[in-house]
């Protein structure tokens, strides 16, 4: 059932078995998966059922480092950022969980096998097709590019409609007898017990001035990848450095996926070899798929590189007329490059295809890239977020090396030549790039409390009854893999443990 917290009596005290902070992809999935478990769930959501300026303004904050718009990078109402997510989905690759000698701070305390049992159900929740991301599955639609050299892998994304969790699952929450969803309810502090070994209560406020508390046996923080850190850091009435922050890890290791669209263009003399699924959304069984290219694990290990995922869109035809000087098109030397390709014969007219290529790229975990608290406070008196997102020279080098490696693979294929569009000496701060709105790393997962904030089961190290959900627990950036499918899988895993009384 939904309860508008603005209608509660000031000073109310609400008790339950499981309190979930945030009704986004994680919170809604967890609450739904706990239905019928015998646990009384309270789902606490800052916003209402629709967007409201005043609530959204609670997300405003300051930035240092790379320019970032904290306000537009997420949404603060029932359904969270799934109210405007793009629906691109892929599971995290097995190698992403492993410790990589060339990536400091890498290595999750869980493996892909720990998530595999939950992905098929997560696919259903995100309204995707079968959980089969194999190249063999893709090849049913036509041959993948199969670039030579073993450095570039074909793969694909599946697309969610995209599922708006707040709409798609609204009735489930409304009709569940064992879920109370408090709307317009902002958790302002997670208050630790005096021994700081467990959580005693949540302090909650509405923008209309009501204050009340929620107490639970188990607390789950699922307020999004930036807000999770902000709320822990702002919870300092018992632990002055912030909750779960004795080791100064909360808020550090913030990662995003820089997006370039485009980073490169290529000219191809054999457009028929580019299967249509690379350029457009294509039905694959009950899924909608789009092909992509990424770096192989063997290449990354050998060359010490991070991953980059490339997507592409065939563009205009480029005509080569022998003996006629090339007209300067949008891309210099493009026709000239076409003449170098295998399928072009002397003296014969030829039509090639221009292809634009975008990418999302991985950044390595970096403790100096971090969320802290600003001096200013929001309308509820909570310190605002200060984000100092940093991407390193190593991340840049890795991206450029991956582009060059792709260029070499295309060249060896014989049918394409690639042109990098961003300058080789670009600076992260100056370049025209976007970001994917994937907020990772600020409450990272690690086996040891000295290395991370939560353990393999999402339980906060050193706190008996607090769990954290969402991509803030990501230990590494996982290539450029979009996080939401895996966020949902982790929520299902936690639900199973809670249902089994293991947590």
């Amino acid at each position: 059932m939904f309860i508008d917290a603005r209608q509660l009596d000031d000073g109310s005290a609400i008790a339950c078995d499981v309190a979930i902070i945030g009704a986004g992809a994680f919170g809604i999935t967890l609450a739904r998966a706990l239905r019928g478990s015998g646990r009384d769930v309270v789902l606490i959501e800052s916003g209402g059922l629709d967007f409201e300026d005043e609530t959204q303004a609670l997300y405003e904050g300051a930035t240092d480092g790379i320019a970032y718009n904290l306000d537009t990078a997420r949404l603060r109402y029932f359904g969270g950022s799934t109210n405007h997510w793009g629906g691109w989905c892929r599971p995290i690759e097995p190698e992403d969980f492993e410790a990589r000698a060339w990536v400091p701070h890498s290595g999750w305390p869980v493996s892909r096998a720990d998530l595999d049992p939950y992905y098929p159900r997560a696919q259903e929740i995100c309204e995707l097709g079968a959980f089969d991301y194999s190249v063999e599955n893709l090849a049913r639609l036509g041959p993948p590019l199969g670039l030579p050299g073993g450095k570039i892998a074909d793969g694909f994304f599946q697309f969610s409609p995209p599922t708006r969790f707040g709409e798609r699952y609204r009735d489930d929450i409304a009709n569940a007898a064992d879920i109370r969803c408090l709307l317009n309810a902002n958790v302002t502090e997670i208050v630790a017990a005096h021994d700081a070994g467990s959580i005693a209560r949540l302090d909650v406020a509405t923008l209309t001035g009501k204050r009340f508390t929620v107490t639970a046996g188990t607390y789950v923080l699922a307020a999004g990848g930036i807000e999770n850190a902000r709320l822990l850091l702002a919870s300092r009435s018992v632990a002055p450095a912030g909750l779960a922050n004795d080791r100064d890890l909360v808020g550090r290791y913030f990662m995003e996926h820089p997006i370039f669209g485009p980073i490169a263009s290529w000219i191809c003399d054999a457009p028929e070899r580019i299967a249509p699924y690379y350029g457009s959304y294509t039905a694959l069984g009950d899924a909608v798929a789009r092909g992509c290219l990424s770096m192989t694990p063997e290449y990354m290990a050998r060359e010490g590189r991070l991953n980059t995922i490339f997507t592409f869109t065939p563009n205009d035809d480029v005509r080569y007329l022998p003996g006629r000087p090339a007209e300067d098109g949008p891309i210099p030397l493009e026709t000239e490059m076409l003449t170098l390709l295998a399928g072009v014969e002397p003296g014969v007219e030829h039509t090639g295809k221009r292809v634009y290529m975008g990418c999302g790229t991985e950044q390595a975990p970096n403790p100096d890239s971090r969320v802290t608290l600003a001096d200013e406070v929001d309308a509820l008196g909570m310190p605002r977020t200060r984000l100092a997102w940093q991407i390193t020279e190593g991340d840049r080098e890795s991206l450029l090396a991956n582009v060059a490696t792709l260029a070499a693979a295309m060249g060896a294929w014989g049918h394409a030549r690639l042109r990098r569009i961003v300058p080789a000496d670009f600076a992260w701060n100056d370049i025209d790039m976007f970001w994917a709105h994937h907020h990772m790393g600020t409450t990272r997962m690690a086996a040891q409390a000295s290395q991370g904030v939560v353990d393999a089961n999402l339980k906060v190290h050193g706190l008996g009854n607090l769990f954290i959900g969402g991509s803030s627990v990501w230990t590494t950036g996982c290539g450029a893999t979009n996080p939401t499918l895996s966020i949902v899988a982790f929520a299902l895993r936690l639900a199973e443990r809670l249902r089994a009384g293991e947590a």
């Binding site: 490059m337 003449t339 060059a404 490696t405 060249g411 990098r420």
Partner: protein, 130 residues
């Protein structure tokens, strides 16, 4: 600039000496030289000009010629100009596989293609001036 039998012999001799191989002779007559392997020399010359304008090593005619000579020296004796194109395809593939690439205006092309493009540009300039 055109390639003389002498040029090819000297280049081949240098390569052979470097490689310890027996001196051989590519039966190319005086004429356009190895740029004949290019589908469109004029197009390649435009690439070559950009490489030369960028004036970064190795956009230098002598180095380019020496490298091409070394490659030609690996061809069997009696190889004719018309046979160069498949050989070029192999060299290019090998360059890409080994990551021997040159950048021009953001484009990645192979060392060998860049060398031929430079030679094509120099040939064209020679033809125009001389």
């Amino acid at each position: 600039m055109s390639w003389s039998r002498r040029d090819i012999l000297i280049g081949a001799g240098l390569s052979a000496a470097l490689g310890g191989a027996v001196l051989w002779r590519l039966s190319l007559d005086e004429g356009p030289g190895p740029t004949v392997a290019l589908v469109d020399r004029a197009a390649a010359a435009r690439i070559g000009r950009r490489l030369l304008e960028a004036a970064r090593p190795p956009a230098d005619g002598s180095a380019a010629r020496q490298r091409i000579d070394t490659l030609i020296a690996t061809l069997p004796a009696g190889t004719r100009a018309g046979d160069l194109r498949p050989a070029l395809a192999d060299w290019v593939a090998a360059d890409f596989e080994e990551g021997r690439m040159v950048e021009v205006e953001g484009w990645y092309l192979t060392r060998t293609e860049a060398d031929l493009a430079i030679l094509a540009a120099l040939e064209e300039a020679g033809a125009q001036t001389g």
